[in-house]
């Protein structure tokens, strides 16, 4: 009995000790200065957070936590962190590893990201971090429906103070709006507005997990181009080209259009009519691109203009009709690039494709992106390497002159923004002898036809000799 009590006490002590050590980072760090600049110019909200972090504990800290309210966590497309060293013109930015993190006892279901320092932060030391995080679908149109002649107004909800598991000694937040028309913004003293900038702060000495909700109601007529689904297929052909086919389902994600669409008003008073609608889209394609086509399921769309260049090509294109709130359009863009720019041989003998992930359209959110890399027939051991998490899958596709089918590596990711357009690799092994499979098939087919016709002409099939 006494032994059991004693064991119980030890267990409790160990549990307390362990729980203390998991929260050691929460109590040992503090943020000396935080400056946050949130850019609300487009429907992709970009937030730049500069943190000066100090280690006030006795042990070195290997990492720190970034906290986000639960409404923002599901809209976070990307979080990146850089450590800043050096001063003024000799600043060096070192990328840090950022991972989503689950913490027990998160107050009000806050979400976390864990930033790992390059070198552990010693006691008493400070480090300056630059954090960039991108939010999608965070501008809520209000009014929800607008007519053709009205401007689009949106709500942005955030906190005047930065949500953090650490104490923040001093902080300021700036919101940048695209125009000077701001209907209202919550006042959390001291808060003031000058032109296109709203400044909240400076706020002194806030406790961990401080939160002051604010709503900014402002005008935003930037194109709310949302691709609901994009399926990109990259077909590798060892005969020298890469064929890319992209299927888009595009919609206008802003305030819904209600009432009449008057073409005469749209054409004559363009500056005030349909101010939140958009017509022009831009796709950035690889430099040596050829055979570009832009069509939909009923035929070719002629409203496009291609400019090829040395570093990149630009396709300016328009959907068949301008997009107002809630309107949809679907289309297919296809193009071909030479294989030698993208297919390489790894040191271990495997081949790999080095291509850019993401969507070629500028300033567009993709709700669901599916990237399919079709490997030539006879490829084995496919694997994909990406700098962020995606869902991977394998499929088989049957195309021209296929017998066993082609392996397809399927990569799927939700909530994709232009910052995700980074290179990725797909490795596979391929024996060069398989390249002869298709020509041999065609040659033998023709050979068979000729031999049978020869035989037919020369064989005597009469039963009775004439």
């Amino acid at each position: 009995m006494a032994a059991r009590n004693w064991i119980f006490a030890v267990a409790v002590a160990v549990a307390v000790f362990l729980s203390l050590s998991t929260f050691s980072s929460a109590q040992d760090l503090q943020i000396v200065n935080a400056e946050r600049r949130i850019d609300l110019s487009s429907h992709i909200v970009k937030a730049f957070l500069t943190l000066k972090v100090e280690n006030i504990g006795k042990d070195p800290a290997a990492d720190m936590l970034l906290a986000f309210p639960p409404t923002q966590i599901k809209n976070l497309a990307m979080v990146q962190a850089l450590a800043v060293t050096g001063k003024k013109k000799k600043k060096i930015y070192l990328p840090l590893d950022v991972k989503p993190s689950e913490q027990p006892d998160a107050p009000n279901d806050a979400g976390y990201f864990l930033v790992s320092f390059a070198t552990p932060l010693g006691p008493g030391e400070t480090v300056t971090l630059e954090v960039l995080y991108i939010l999608t679908h965070s501008l809520e149109p209000f009014p929800v429906e607008i007519t053709q002649s009205e401007s689009q107004l949106v709500y942005y909800r955030d906190s005047a103070v930065v949500l953090s598991p650490y104490r923040i000694k001093q902080q300021t937040t700036f919101f940048k709006t695209p125009s000077t028309r701001v209907e209202s913004f919550t006042s959390v003293e001291p808060a003031n507005r000058a032109g296109k900038e709203i400044k909240y702060g400076p706020y002194e000495d806030r406790a961990p997990y401080s939160y002051a909700p604010v709503i900014v109601h402002f005008e935003n007529n930037s194109p709310f181009a949302v691709v609901e689904e994009l399926v990109r297929e990259i077909e590798i052909s060892h005969w020298g080209s890469l064929q890319i086919t992209e299927n888009y389902r595009l919609t206008h994600g802003g305030a819904r259009h209600k009432g009449v669409f008057s073409r005469v008003e749209y054409q004559s008073r363009r500056s005030i009519s349909g101010s939140s609608s958009f017509n022009a889209l831009l796709a950035v394609l690889p430099p040596r691109v050829n055979s570009v086509y832009y069509r939909d399921n009923i035929g070719n769309i002629s409203t496009s203009h291609l400019r090829t260049g040395f570093k990149k090509s630009e396709l300016e294109f328009e959907p068949r009709y301008p997009l107002f709130g809630g309107w949809k359009a679907t289309f297919i863009i296809g193009y071909r690039v030479p294989l030698e720019d993208y297919l390489f041989e790894a040191p271990d003998g495997r081949r790999y494709l080095n291509f850019t992930f993401g969507c070629p359209l500028v300033e567009t959110i993709v709700n669901k992106l599916t990237l399919k890399v079709v490997l030539p027939e006879g490829s084995k051991d496919p694997s994909a390497v990406l700098p962020f998490a995606v869902n991977q899958d394998l499929q088989v596709k049957y195309s021209y002159l296929d017998i066993v089918g082609r392996t397809v590596v399927v990569l799927q990711k939700d909530n994709v923004v232009p910052t995700h357009n980074v290179p990725f690799q797909v490795y596979y092994t391929f024996k060069p002898i398989y390249m002869l499979a298709e020509p041999l098939m065609l040659v033998s087919a023709f050979f068979f036809v000729f031999v049978t016709s020869l035989a037919y002409v020369h064989i005597d099939l009469n039963i009775v000799k004439k």
């Binding site: 008057s262 073409r263 035929g299 070719n300 002629s302 068949r320 009709y321 309107w327």
Partner: protein, 368 residues
């Protein structure tokens, strides 16, 4: 082993001639086939590889159905997306040769893993039906200083309809555009190019020739949500609905005697200018074609009829404009829903608002 005998003298040269003759005739036949084929691909090469005429869109849509659902569904197909609310028995009334050929070719190619789409197969099989037509009517082009200008208004409107209206919405238009609307916009139509039911066509024609309220009643009884008209007055496209209007009047008048052709004629001619008859200026086709047309150039000059229009400034009471294509070639209108009417109360409400009370407060009260 028997020795090979040398061929009898004189036959080697004739054998050579025979062989040469066979090859030459085969080659000539092949060239004739290629030439015949290329001539019919003229509009495809010049404009684009889509089906250009009206009627072949029906064959294309039927082949699509066949390839998706198989031969048994095809034989038993009752199409409810056309001739609403009557429908059409396609399985029993179609001439299946073209469709089955295209479908078989598509199926055979896909079986050996050659992934040609149904559209491509149809364009190469449909030239037979397109033989009777010479001018392509889906994409129009014109040469200008800056090069080729493309008028793709039809497909722009069909794409808008297919993406921005509900799947079960009914679209009313003149029968010429029926097949294209069902195939490209994927919407149910009232009449199409099959023209098998004259009374149904006359109903649509009467609606187009009637004033707004009567037209709304007719279309509402057919569950129509959108009305589509083709208007060529801005760019000078002569095959528009105003030029076809005389048929709407004649066919409508043939079944419904209250439509009299004389009401629309001035000195034996159909006019839309200041000399037009009041019936003409009040009919739905006039209003839907020329709604706000005067705002384009200030005068309302119709480039096809080569005159200024008669009635320039007017409002629509029972329809609202939902889409007009880039060059005004296709105009789509929506039927306005009926206003809620409460007997007796409407007069009281008018008195209240005219005395200066806040109309918003009056509307919010649900008991008024």
């Amino acid at each position: 082993m028997a020795t090979l005998e040398s061929p009898p003298p004189g036959t080697s040269s004739s054998a050579m001639r025979n062989a040469f003759g066979t090859v030459l005739s085969a080659l000539i036949l092949l060239l004739i086939g290629v030439l015949a084929f290329s001539i019919r691909l003229f509009s495809v090469i010049k404009y684009e590889s889509v089906i250009h005429e009206f009627d072949p869109y029906f064959n294309y849509r039927v082949t699509q159905f066949l390839s998706k659902n198989g031969i048994y569904e095809f034989w038993n197909w009752f199409d409810d997306r056309t001739w609403y609310p009557l429908g059409r028995v396609i399985g029993g009334t179609v001439y299946p040769g073209l469709t089955l050929t295209a479908g078989t070719i598509w199926w055979a190619l896909n079986a050996i893993n050659i992934p040609l789409s149904v559209e491509t197969v149809c364009i190469h099989c449909v030239w037979a039906a397109a033989e009777a037509y010479s001018a392509p009517s889906i994409v129009l082009t014109s040469q200008s200083r800056d090069g080729l200008h493309v008028f793709d208004d039809f497909r722009e409107s069909y794409a808008w309809l297919s993406h921005n209206t509900d799947v079960d919405d009914k679209v009313a238009s003149w029968w010429d555009y029926g097949y294209q609307t069902t195939a490209m916009a994927n919407r149910t139509v009232i009449v199409d190019n099959n023209t098998w039911n004259n009374t149904h066509i006359a109903t649509v024609g009467t609606a187009m020739s009637s004033p707004e309220k009567a037209a709304w009643e007719i279309f509402n009884s057919l569950d129509v949500k959108y009305v589509l008209v083709v208007f060529g007055g801005l760019i000078g496209y002569p095959s528009d609905d105003i030029n076809k209007f005389l048929w709407m009047v004649r066919i409508g008048g043939g079944v419904f005697p209250h439509i009299k052709e004389a009401d629309y004629l001035r000195d034996g001619n159909y006019r839309i200018d200041s000399e037009a008859t009041p019936t003409m200026l009040n009919c739905l086709m006039y209003k839907l074609s020329y709604y706000r047309f005067v705002e384009t150039d200030g005068k309302g000059y119709d480039r096809v009829r080569r005159t200024e229009i008669g009635k320039k400034n007017f409002k629509l009471t029972h329809f609202e404009e939902v889409f007009t294509s880039h060059h005004w070639m296709v105009r789509i209108y929506k039927l306005k829903p009926q206003k809620n009417r409460i007997r007796g109360r409407a007069k009281k409400l008018k008195l209240k608002t005219s005395s200066g009370l806040d109309s918003k407060a009056a509307k919010k009260n649900p008991w008024i």
